[in-house]
């Protein structure tokens, strides 16, 4: 039996683009590069309006440890530094660069391969390259590579589950760049001194499992594992549970059980940064859904607007009524196609009106489906009720903070209750209360 975790659901996979090779799209005339594309402090601009930049030029400096620098993804001239629409919802500071279309990189001719350097040097290079987790959460990778004193990591897991419907970028990367991904995994294992490496892939990608397995055939320490096709198989805690049987303690991190999880795309980015010196200036974006003319997997420069990417993918149908950044389970609906692709943009799903449902939530029937399917084994119906009634302390006691907002409860709910929305509200309220309390004490 394929390895897995308890709970979860199996929505229609809709992997329309699994057989579409990664294509590089025509460059945009301009890019909008937000200074905040990662978890943590936004970077600080280091360029001025009018300044000339090349591909890979640093245009924003990291602020603090949990932060990464930002780089230009085109060659051209800085046009403005201002607030621009951001896929997370609110306008945020970004640097707009006019593309001169010369496609000129910074000078990398003297770059020396860093894959065999010291752990500290590798961490520094990974940070300098602006690398963050490319699965969607965009957590700075160098932080994950720097476990605090006393934490030993013995197992590194590459996440190739790609359990969200529609998304196929990781699948394609594994087929097209297996050597680079595995090389990246070796580097991560070396930096952490981890003896064991896993590459977890859902079984709906047998070609990727075969390809990766073939590449690690002679490698004792790395194992490719086929996982049951079930959402959220690629969630960090669920993936660790499936592969190692270990449970990350509530409120804890994977390193508490000696594990580290990286997306396969991140591993590829690490390899590119160390081997070639290329900072993270582009990523694979799956453009899919019922309202896009040519669904596919595209290599897209960071900062390219959604509208340009969609245009390059043949354009959208007249009836497009929803654009989602990410997958349909956890992705964020966009109010405009003028938002830029950021480091965490794994996909763009365009849905036509008949695929967009607006459900009026009904009363909870207490059917218990959310309880049966919750991958964190919470009681979502009760937590949702507590938040609705403003009983935040009880919501917290019932584990609202252990919720990862995977959306499984809302997916299975016959009453169409918006659990995730309520949980976000509840969490925000808890955060606000904590800030207030901290303020009082200070």
């Amino acid at each position: 039996m394929a390895k897995t975790f308890r709970g979860g659901v199996h929505p229609p996979e809709a992997k329309l683009t699994a057989s579409k090779p990664i294509e590089t799209i025509a460059q945009p005339d301009r890019v909008i590069i937000p200074l905040s594309q990662h978890t943590g402090a936004p970077s600080k601009p280091t360029v001025k309006v009018g300044e000339e930049v090349l591909i890979g030029s640093k245009i924003g400096e990291a602020e603090g440890f949990i932060s990464v620098p930002t780089h230009s993804s085109v060659s051209g001239k800085v046009k403005a530094i201002a607030n621009y629409p951001h896929p997370l919802g609110r306008p945020m500071p970004a640097i707009e660069i006019e593309n001169d279309s010369r496609d000129e990189w910074i000078d990398l001719s003297h770059w020396t391969d860093l894959t065999n350097s010291s752990p500290d040097e590798i961490r520094r290079a990974v940070r300098e390259a602006g690398i963050v987790g490319l699965g969607g959460a965009a957590f700075p990778t160098h932080v994950k590579l720097s476990p605090p004193e006393g934490k030993t990591i013995d197992t590194v897991i590459l996440n190739g589950a790609e359990c969200e419907p529609y998304l196929t970028g990781d699948h394609r990367l594994m087929l097209e760049h297996p050597d680079e991904i595995i090389e990246g995994l070796r580097v991560i294992m070396k930096v952490l001194g981890a003896a064991r490496g896993y590459i977890g892939i859902e079984r709906n990608k047998p070609d990727a499992i075969d390809k990766m397995s073939e590449k690690v055939e002679d490698e004792e320490s790395i194992e490719v594992v086929g996982l049951k096709v079930k959402y959220p198989q690629g969630a960090e805690k669920q993936l660790i549970k499936a592969l190692t049987g270990r449970e990350v303690p509530c409120g804890g991190l994977p390193m508490d059980v000696g594990c580290l999880v990286q997306n396969v795309g991140t591993s590829y980015a690490i390899w590119q940064a160390l081997k070639l010196g290329k900072p993270l200036i582009e990523r694979v974006v799956t453009v899919s859904g019922s309202a896009v003319k040519s669904p596919g997997n595209y290599m897209v420069r960071i900062g390219t607007t959604f509208s340009h990417v969609i245009e390059q993918a043949g354009g959208m149908d007249e009836g497009c009524s929803k654009i989602i950044m990410g997958g349909p389970m956890m992705g964020i609906a966009q109010h405009t196609d003028q938002v830029p692709v950021v480091k965490g943009t794994s996909g763009m799903i365009l849905l036509s009106a008949q695929d967009v449902r607006i459900d009026e939530p009904g009363p909870c029937l207490r059917c218990g489906k959310c309880v049966d399917h919750c991958p964190m084994r919470l009681v979502p119906n009760e937590i949702a009720r507590f938040v609705e009634k403003g009983r935040i302390a009880e919501a917290e006691a019932y584990g609202i903070l252990d919720c990862m907002e995977c959306g499984v409860c809302a997916y299975v709910c016959p009453s169409k209750i918006n659990h995730v929305h309520l949980f976000k509200i509840g969490k925000a309220e808890i955060a606000q209360r904590r800030r207030k309390e901290a303020g009082k004490e200070g």
Binding site: G331, T336, R357, P363, V371, G399, P414
Partner: protein, 344 residues
């Protein structure tokens, strides 16, 4: 860009199952038993089922209008209440009785608590309890024999349901003052009740009883459909029926471990109650462990009432009593969270 974009919280896809589909699946699952009821007890049964259903739906509509809430009769839940109430009535009751029962079920046990999803007790069972308390004669003496069989399922007795016969036999055997003749007669009734012919009648439904409860096979067909569709799960029915089987085996005979569990499982309203009323989502626990506790509790109460209580049957009251415990059960059976350390 001209099109307007829809912005809603994630997830952006949902399972097809909705409230209506859940409710009408239950209605569909009850249809074989409804047809069986009409087959065994005649058109009277159909009139009672229709009267109870229409009364339930009409009451819900009137109540919701009166309190200026959206009328939600199309969700199917009131229809289920009506059908289940009718299923729990003897076929010989006057036609106004199901109407009164449905009105009470909806207007007292459902709407005042907030309607669907908020009622703590199963409305159909509250309706039945109300009728039993108010018109006990109609509710306990208007049994009719099935069209092709006898009321008790055995030929020796024609005036009581199988569980009624069992109660009578227990009464004789537990009474030290009865004579040997009576004891031997009681034992012969018992032997007939436990005979394969009697069990076959119980399984097929060819015995007296409430309209929808007698045919085990037809109930199981509907239950299988709900189980396969994932509308109900095995935990409550299995733990309920299993507990009744275990307890009636241990305590149901003269001396320990001399009971005949198969008779108790097949007779009365146990199968109807276990698969269609104890599993009522709104009034049963949501946690996996809680469902088992709930089922076991129902089983204990049903066995105790059948073996030691004043009524021959105790399914309705057992489920109603356990309904009250649901918030408590849910509270103390929360699953262990992924990564939760015991004692923390």
């Amino acid at each position: 860009m001209s099109a307007k974009l829809t912005v809603t919280p994630s997830p952006h896809i949902r399972d097809d199952l909705d409230i209506k589909k859940v409710m009408y699946a239950v209605v569909l699952a009850l249809i074989p038993s409804a047809i069986g009821g009409v087959y065994f007890f005649g058109l009277r049964a159909l009139v009672i089922i229709v009267a109870a259903s229409l009364a339930a739906i009409a009451t819900e509509a009137v109540c919701q209008k009166a309190i200026r809430r959206p009328v939600t009769i199309s969700d199917g839940s009131a229809l289920i209440t009506g059908i289940l109430l009718a299923f729990n009535l003897p076929p010989g009751v006057p036609y106004w009785l199901p109407v009164v029962g449905s009105v009470f079920a909806i207007a007292v046990a459902k709407i005042p608590f907030g309607g669907l999803g908020y009622n703590p007790l199963n409305p159909a069972l509250v309706g039945r309890a109300f009728l039993l308390a108010s018109w006990p004669v109609y509710m306990t003496t208007t049994w009719t024999a099935p069209s092709r069989g006898s009321l008790s399922g055995i030929s020796a007795i024609t005036t009581a349901t199988p569980l009624g016969v069992f109660k009578y036999v227990r009464h004789i055997l537990d009474n030290p003052s009865v004579g040997p003749d009576e004891i031997s007669r009681a034992n012969s009734y018992l032997a007939q009740l436990y005979s394969s012919a009697s069990l076959k009648n119980l399984f097929l439904g060819n015995v007296g009883g409430c309209i929808g409860e007698t045919s085990v096979i037809l109930l199981l067909i509907g239950a299988a459909y709900l189980l396969i569709k994932g509308i109900i799960c095995w935990r409550i029915p299995l733990s309920y029926i299993g507990t009744v089987a275990l307890l009636t085996w241990i305590l149901g005979g003269q001396g320990l471990f001399h009971g005949y569990p198969l008779f108790h499982v097949l007779s009365g309203g146990l199968v109807l109650g276990a698969f269609f009323m104890a599993t009522d989502m709104v009034t049963s626990p949501v946690t996996p462990k809680g469902k088992i506790i709930f089922g076991v509790g129902c089983g204990i109460l049903t066995s105790v009432i059948r073996l030691y209580g004043g009524y021959p049957e105790g399914v309705s009251y057992s489920i109603l009593i356990m309904n009250i415990t649901v918030p408590l059960i849910d509270r103390y059976t929360r699953p262990r969270k992924l990564g939760e350390v015991k004692g923390s």
